[in-house]
């Protein structure tokens, strides 16, 4: 059995009275492509945000390759409001910031594309290399790290070639067509040398042809960069095509998990998406 990369245990995320994520457990293993699906508002992006450290969970634990990156239990007012109904047993409060988690090898894209709007395509990918730069502030400011800068720039250009965006390297990032912007966001995430990639609705707004290209693209970068992938997606063709396993979320709760075949025939999943037929 391949090594476990990401492990979620009893993760609950509650905003005041709203339980966005309810007692979710999840595992992603090395080299897998796992999909997180569910109707709109099911809490999928919130799960991403907890995993990447944007939110600290109300309860539960998240571990990356065995190291706990987030853990918490309900405090203060939350103790009374806590709705997940599970005995909370997480003693520590651990809250790694997003940049620390990225440095540990987990990178993500966003549901609403968040490119750096004042920068070019090239600069967007280049800035992601800043975190791995060895030179300190003064060396960098005084341009004493010429060789390192050259290396970073070369790597950036290489990466742009791999994703096919080298032709537009000097365009302002937000002036690109939508599909290319999505690819740029992925390239930017790849630029941080991740071992795990989180993609939030990468196929949103794409037509069937573009989605097929994306499917091949994801497989290609997964193999090329030895990645483990967790993705949120609504496009079922894409999901069924490339996922090894699927988790289904509805109203914050995990209602089913299994292989694509198992999920397709799962009655709870069908009900969640299509509703119950009226008698």
């Amino acid at each position: 059995m391949s090594q476990n990369v990401l492990h979620l245990e009893n993760v609950t995320m509650q905003f005041g009275g709203v339980v966005a994520v309810n007692d979710v457990c999840m595992d992603v293993n090395d080299g897998e492509i796992v999909a997180l699906i569910g109707p709109n508002g099911a809490g999928k992006t919130t799960v991403f945000n907890v995993i990447t450290g944007v939110y600290s969970p109300t309860n539960g634990r998240v571990s990356l390759r065995g190291k706990v990156i987030a853990e918490d239990h309900p405090h203060g007012k939350m103790k009374k409001l806590y709705a997940a109904g599970h005995q909370f047993e997480y003693v520590h409060t651990i809250d790694y910031s997003p940049d620390r988690i990225t440095k540990m090898g987990m990178a993500r894209t966003f549901q609403n594309i968040r490119l750096f709007s004042s920068m070019t395509v090239f600069e967007n990918v280049l800035v992601a290399k800043h975190m791995n730069m060895k030179a300190g502030f003064f060396a960098s400011a005084l341009h004493l790290n010429g060789r390192e800068e050259a290396r970073m720039r070369e790597e950036t250009m290489e990466l742009l070639k791999v994703v096919g965006l080298d032709g537009v390297w000097d365009e302002i990032a937000t002036s690109l067509p939508y599909g290319q912007q999505r690819r740029l966001e992925i390239a930017r995430a790849l630029s941080t040398h991740p071992s795990m990639l989180l993609l939030d609705e990468p196929a949103a707004g794409m037509n069937p042809q573009e989605t097929e290209n994306l499917s091949a693209f994801i497989r290609e970068i997964k193999d090329r960069f030895h990645l483990t992938v967790l993705l949120i997606e609504h496009d079922m063709e894409l999901v069924m095509d490339i996922s090894d396993r699927i988790y289904v979320l509805n109203f914050g709760k995990c209602i089913a998990t299994g292989t694509p075949v198992e999920i397709q025939s799962n009655p709870d999943v069908i009900t969640a998406y299509l509703g119950v037929t009226e008698e």
């Binding site: 032709g167 390297w169 937000t174």
Partner: protein, 378 residues
Amino acid sequence: MNTDSLTAKPRKKLDRATVIAIGVIFAIYALAFVLEQVIPSTSMLFTVLKKGATYALVAVSMNLLNGFTGLFSLGQAGFMLIGAYTYAVFTIPVAQRMSVYQYYNGGVIQFTLPVLVAIALAGVFAALFAFLIGLPVLRLKSDYLAIATLGFAEIIRAIFQWDKLGVVTNGSNLLRLFPTFNDFNIKDASGNVTLHLSTLIPFLIAGVCILFIVMLINSSYGRAFKAIRDDETAAEAMGINLPRHKMIAFCTSSFFAGVGGAMLAMYQNSVQAKYFTTSMTYEILLIVVIGGIGSVTGSCISSFLFVACSEWWLRFLDQEQTINGWQVPLLRNGFRLVVFSLIIMAVVLFFRKGIMGTRELPDLFRRRKPSGKGGAKA
């Protein structure tokens, strides 16, 4: 696919436009130097040049923080104050201290530091205060950051006017008799000036500092700052530690605001806390806006324009004029500032991008590309 891209190395290269820009800057320096030798030094031109250079540095330091990193801070005057006082306190000649610190028995500091050291120290102390203030304040949302830094600037002003610290700060009395720009003029045996340097020196100090800031903006850290400005959440997701980088930007900006404060002291010949009010910060902010938030060149040009208008060119608006016995209405003391304020409002409302937008000096010498940068936004 554009085959040029396969060979194009998009690295910073000294293209023609940049070389021309550097040439222009050298020419300006040379011109300032020559002018000072030929035109009598009491001319308003030099007031504008000296004060302009000082404000240019402070404006660029504010632009680094507000324009490039997106941190709306209104504490500039406080850091200028710290820098001005540091410089003055450590350079007043020991022999003069008794007369300056007349109520405090000469004050507690009885040594002097060389001018350059004092200027550097001015920056260091300002940066140090910035670090302390930044710890609680930098995580606040933009509006709150503005008010918190404004508040801190006011607190600093109160502290420097406090009687109990008078042995160092001279309380609410002014500090004077420290070395000024004019002291850099080279004199001959009989005290006549043989070589005027009083304008070149501020240009050099400001120039070196602004050069560092420009290099910083074009480095990886500069890109990280811009990323923070564009989208904090995405920047953090790309591995940029927000508290650390915000603090670096804040301290660097404040360091240069401190140096600017020292320069202001050297220009004004006296330093008094009560003049470093929030109005001073507002003026710097308006200079930055007029020049273009995100343009170093813009801040520099705008500083000189601002100082020229407020000190020199619009002066005529303050004088009462009579034409053929008919008194021109409106023209009297203070009208200059009114006209000035209206011009600023016009820029803020109608020319939001400012003079330069986000362009820099080399961009003025570049031919327009048929497509590419600055093209239509999606």
